[in-house]
């Protein structure tokens, strides 16, 4: 147990043993979500601060609920309504929060590496809730947790990740986590959205999604990040749908019991058809439930005990 007091910045830096600890703790904590009164006293007196410099519904709510279910107090700062608007620097804002007694800072920021920067500035642990095009480690953990609720083990599993690999921190965390745990990962997408040297992370790269999906146990459709998409990296949403979107015909190339995943928010009819998103093989909403359990586990393991 080495997570107490530590930052959680990336799955690239996280040991397999620590990932396993988070997963098994989350498995136990998930039971709390099914209780009529969702509250355990474990983190009473701890203060969790979410610092979001980019919009988010799922991740921020998920972290806040996780903290509340464990009886921690939460404060949430959204950049759009904070002193960042008056020109305060990130490190000044964070240091001010720290001296008010915050026990852990959870940050989302559009700049890759910003959470590593924050971790150097602050004494308290920092949790990365998504930094630019770098990583989103709790998303990676919740994805692995959700896969394990449907498949017996990660080792040997074939996972196809489709779409915008270039901009996706979700893909990066998932690739690091899955390859460490022994999965066989394939990626596919438009050439403009496949970062060069991605194969160095231990994944197989395909230009055609059909080749990546062939025989897959898990098919993971990434969101087309329309907000980062003004550079003409693909001609149109329609063309993306036709050549790279997940549909029934393409899914039929995967294993018969293959499961469908997506990190949300979905562009229905672009990267995934609506009938697949809502089909029994889709575990997209399970991912959201798992997210709360994973974040409860992460907060418990980082904040429990004493210095």
């Amino acid at each position: 147990m080495t997570l107490r007091g530590q930052d959680l910045l990336s799955l690239q830096e996280m040991s397999t043993a620590d990932m396993e600890t988070v997963l098994s703790t989350a498995r136990s904590l998930k039971e709390i979500l099914s209780r009529p009164i969702k509250k355990v006293p474990t983190l009473r007196g701890k203060v969790v601060c979410t610092l979001f410099y980019e919009p988010s519904t799922r991740t921020r709510t998920s972290f806040e609920l996780a903290a509340k279910y464990m009886s921690a107090d939460t404060v949430s700062i959204a950049a759009s309504t904070s002193a960042a608007q008056k020109g305060e620097t990130l490190s000044d804002t964070a240091r001010n929060l720290e001296v008010m007694g915050v026990d852990v800072a959870i940050m989302r920021h559009s700049v890759s590496g910003s959470c590593h920067f924050l971790a150097r500035v602050l004494d308290i642990p920092v949790i990365n809730a998504g930094d630019g095009m770098h990583e989103h480690p709790t998303q990676g953990l919740l994805d692995i947790f959700t896969i394990l609720e449907h498949k017996p083990r990660i080792r040997g599993l074939k996972v196809a990740i489709l779409g915008d690999i270039l901009h996706s921190r979700v893909a990066r965390s998932l690739i690091f986590g899955l390859t460490k745990m022994g999965a066989e990962v394939t990626v596919a997408g438009p050439g403009t959205l496949l970062p060069p040297y991605i194969e160095d992370l231990g994944v197989k790269v395909f230009r055609r999604v059909e080749e990546a999906i062939e025989g897959a146990d898990v098919v993971y459709a990434l969101r087309i990040q329309l907000e980062r998409q003004n550079k003409g990296l693909f001609p149109s949403k329609r063309e993306y749908r036709d050549f790279y979107g997940l549909n029934r015909r393409r899914l039929s190339l995967a294993q018969e019991d293959a499961i469908i995943m997506h990190p949300g928010p979905m562009n229905r009819g672009v990267e995934i058809t609506t009938d697949l998103a809502d089909s029994p093989r889709s575990i997209i909403l399970d991912q959201v439930t798992s997210g709360v359990a994973i974040r409860m586990a992460v907060l418990y393991l980082i904040l429990g005990g004493r210095e």
Partner: protein
């Protein structure tokens, strides 16, 4: 810290007989088994609760629900420890509201585990009552808590340790007393 086993206090037969007696006492005290549920405290309380349920099924022909409770999240020493204890599973087959809950554990010592278990159960609903069954009561209470059903009372010194072993986890059934080895 090294522990040396000093003596066996109960063997397999003694544990079996104690569980049969406790099962009968539970029926007697509750005038039957209506609304009774057994809740084993993770880890060794759970197999003991399952065995009590088996005995009750054979003698009373009643299937008593068995739950498993992990009390880690309710410990009073979480903020004092250097490492976080591993969180175990909690499974409750029925709603505890209006039930007669019998908590089952291997050893009753300071009473802090039972205190945590009381909070955990009450967080899930409002039972009619809560009772406590333990294989060994070794004294040294730090809280006003007592057991309703006891396999064996064993007076101990605080240097001693009681190990209740169960086949499901330890490969055999026995209760032994051990003592910390003095390294001076």
């Amino acid at each position: 810290m090294e522990l040396i086993e000093k003596a066996q206090i109960m063997d397999r037969e003694a544990m079996r007989r104690a569980l049969i007696r406790i099962a009968h006492e539970i029926v007697e005290r509750n005038k039957g088994l209506e609304d009774v549920i057994l809740v084993g405290i993770h880890r060794r309380g759970y197999p003991l609760a399952q065995r009590l349920a088996q005995i009750l099924k054979e003698s009373e022909s009643v299937d008593v629900p068995v739950g498993e409770l992990d009390i880690t999240l309710y410990r009073d020493d979480l903020s004092l420890r250097f490492t976080q204890p591993q969180v175990g599973p909690t499974r409750m087959p029925v709603d505890v509201a209006r039930k007669r809950v019998v908590l089952v554990d291997d050893v009753l010592y300071t009473g802090r585990t039972i205190r945590a278990a009381l909070d955990a159960i009450i967080d899930m609903g409002r039972p009619q009552n809560i009772q406590v069954a333990v294989m060994i009561d070794r004294g040294h209470r730090e809280l006003p808590i007592r057991a309703d059903y006891v396999g064996k009372n064993v007076p101990t010194s605080s240097k001693e340790v009681i190990h209740v072993k169960v086949t499901e986890i330890d490969g055999l059934d026995e209760v032994v007393i051990a003592e910390e080895k003095d390294n001076e």
